[in-house]
């Protein structure tokens, strides 16, 4: 840096002042840094999701085909989405729980847009396994929801963590009802 300190020439400013050459040196380094950054950013950004990946980042589902008590599993952004058409009993059960008893306190009403359809990401918040409870006959845990076989986390009928090592509730993905039957996830 600042080679000019050792040089003696006509443009050298009086003691304690920056010379014009100092300015040129700093400006050159700054331009070099900008140029290097402009080259490095594309190299870094090319590893982010590409346009075609982003284009497939939302899916649409017709939920009217799911009968009461039934669950379906979909793939969204490479991960499973659970959609459960909950029974009246399951809805009531989820609504009854006092949030103070929960590890990750959240009202059931805030986790659904229509109480009968629960949409959650089927990924255990502990270490990423897919919990059981989607298919008929599978273990659903002690709270009528899901049970993760990896390390024994129990989720209730609102997908909230009730027992086991998982720290938080099953994540609710961003979704909107396009009509009464069709939702778009993502």
């Amino acid at each position: 840096m600042a080679k000019s300190k050792s040089t003696t020439n006509a443009t050298t400013a009086p003691e304690g002042h920056k010379s014009r050459r100092d300015f040129i040196v700093v400006a050159s380094y700054a331009m070099g840094a900008v140029g290097a950054g402009a080259f490095v950013w594309p190299l870094v950004d090319q590893m982010n999701p590409a346009a075609d990946t982003l284009a497939l980042a939302s899916i649409e589902v017709d939920v009217s085909k799911i009968s009461e008590g039934q669950s379906i599993t979909l793939k969204w952004r490479g991960k499973p989405i659970f959609i459960r058409h909950r029974t009246k009993a399951e809805i009531a059960e989820a609504a009854e729980v006092a949030t103070t008893d929960l590890r990750d306190p959240e009202e059931d009403g805030l986790r659904v847009q229509k109480p009968e359809y629960l949409v959650v990401l089927g990924v255990c918040t502990h270490l990423g396994c897919v919990p059981l409870g989607q298919k008929v006959g599978e273990v659903r845990g002690e709270y009528d929801g899901w049970f993760c076989p990896c390390h024994g986390s129990h989720y209730d009928s609102s997908g909230r963590i009730r027992k086991g090592p998982a720290p938080t509730n099953l994540e609710v993905p961003p979704y909107t009802f396009l009509s009464d039957q069709v939702i778009r996830i993502g």
């Binding site: 080679k3 950013w41 594309p42 190299l43 950004d45 090319q46 590893m47 982010n48 590409a50 346009a51 075609d52 990946t53």
Partner: protein, 418 residues
């Protein structure tokens, strides 16, 4: 190498155990460089930077490329359309290959003119020719990867060169292909080798630099440096000159990438490979055209292949073909003329290589091919004997034409070491 005393104690601690800082200081900072280098000496560092740019963009591209005949073309199109900045990375890589060759060709002709291949720099030169060969192999295999029509048919034609080898030719070609035609196994291995060879080039470049730093750079006068009065420390004098050259180079490079990215390519390579139809006019990339012209000039399959490889092979023995003790073309009046004729001949061969192999082009191509070999195999050895070089300056520091007395002896004893 003497150990330098650094002011930073951490640097001093490391350097005492691992003299990396002394090494860098010695080879890149205080490294004594002839003070009379002209801008043709910029092209070595430009070539090195080009190699780095190619490796960096290549690694990025390989993250989105699929080496399979069914997906390769589409994955390249996806890079162009969907991958973030993919178009930029590919255009830099694509044009980077051409600019790398431009830089290296200038670097080579610089060496030819100023006699940089002569003792004691023969190995330095030979390592450079090895780099050229590796570059050609790498560039060829890289051109196959997009799996367009030119990729496919270029691969077919070039691999078929080896079928000219008597007896085992067919077996070698089958081995190269991993099948009975250029197909998926060929594409896979070309991708693998295209990834590997640049790092081999880096290794040979390191050897090239070790050999260079043994005796230091040649210079436009072609005489040895005789002491500190003839040299400058590499930093800051040549670092800043190299950076200035780099900024000029990058201006041209960026202009090509942003405004004429496909100027040096072939539109046919945007048609997916079709094993059932050859494009009407198939030519290699521009940097192979002179060699392609030599290949076609010989009306015999094996002869053509031998001539083409021979065009590189003569470069390996060049230090022993040109026996003149005077390095720089500045002091060789006849050599100088033939140097420019050789350059014109290579450009002509490049032009012929791009033209269809018919009519007058064939004849001109043959004459130009003959001239190329005559230059190296006949003219240079003969010139070494019959040419009277002009008087050499005593040293880089001394002006060339002052006084007279000292210069008189130079013609009789052209060797600069007295």
């Amino acid at each position: 190498m003497s150990e330098k005393q650094f002011s930073n104690p951490a640097v001093r601690w490391i350097d005492h155990r691992l003299p990396i800082f002394s090494f860098l200081n010695h080879e890149a900072n205080e490294y004594p460089t002839p003070k009379n280098l002209n801008y043709f000496w910029n092209f070595g560092s430009l070539a090195g930077i080009s190699l780095v740019v190619m490796i960096i963009t290549g690694i990025a591209l390989s993250m989105s490329y699929t080496a399979h005949v069914d997906y390769a073309f589409e994955s390249v199109e996806r890079i162009m359309r969907d991958v973030n900045h993919g178009w930029l990375l590919r255009y830099i890589h694509m044009n980077g290959a051409s600019f790398f060759f431009i830089v290296v060709f200038i670097h080579i002709f610089r060496g030819l003119y100023y006699g940089s291949y002569k003792a004691p720099r023969e190995l330095l030169w030979i390592l450079g020719v090895v780099i050229l060969l590796l570059m050609m192999a790498t560039a060829f295999m890289g051109y196959v990867l997009p799996w367009g029509q030119m990729s496919f048919w270029g691969a077919t034609v070039i691999t078929n060169l080896f079928s000219a080898i008597p007896g085992v030719g067919e077996a070698i070609v089958t081995w190269l292909w991993g099948g009975f035609s250029v197909d998926n196994p060929t594409l896979n291995r070309f991708f693998s080798l295209h990834f590997l060879l640049p790092f081999v080039i880096v290794g040979v470049v390191v050897l090239h630099l070790v050999a260079l730093h043994r005796f230091g750079s040649n210079n436009p006068l072609g005489i040895d440096t005789k002491g500190p009065q003839d040299t400058l420390p590499f930093h800051p004098y040549y670092t800043i000159k190299d950076f200035f050259g780099l900024s000029v180079f990058l201006t041209f490079f960026a202009a090509a990438v942003f405004f004429f990215p496909n100027f040096m390519g072939h539109p046919d390579n945007y048609i997916p490979a079709n094993a059932l139809q050859t494009p009407a006019h198939i030519v290699p990339e521009w940097y192979f055209l002179p060699f392609y012209a030599i290949l076609r000039a010989v009306p015999d399959k094996l002869g053509g292949v031998l001539a083409m490889f021979g065009a590189i092979a003569v470069l390996f023995i060049l230090p022993w073909l040109d026996r003149s003790p005077v390095r720089s073309g500045r002091f060789r009046p006849i050599f100088k003329i033939f140097f420019w004729l050789l350059l014109a001949d290579c450009v002509l061969l490049g032009y012929i290589g791009a033209m269809p192999a018919e009519g007058l082009y064939v004849l001109v191509g043959r004459l130009a091919t003959v001239w190329y070999f005559v230059h190296f195999l006949v003219l240079l050895p003969v010139l070494s004997v019959i040419e009277t070089p002009r008087p050499l300056p005593q040293s880089i520091s001394k002006p060339i034409f002052t006084g007279g007395g000292a210069m008189a002896g130079a013609a009789a004893a052209p060797k600069e070491k007295v």
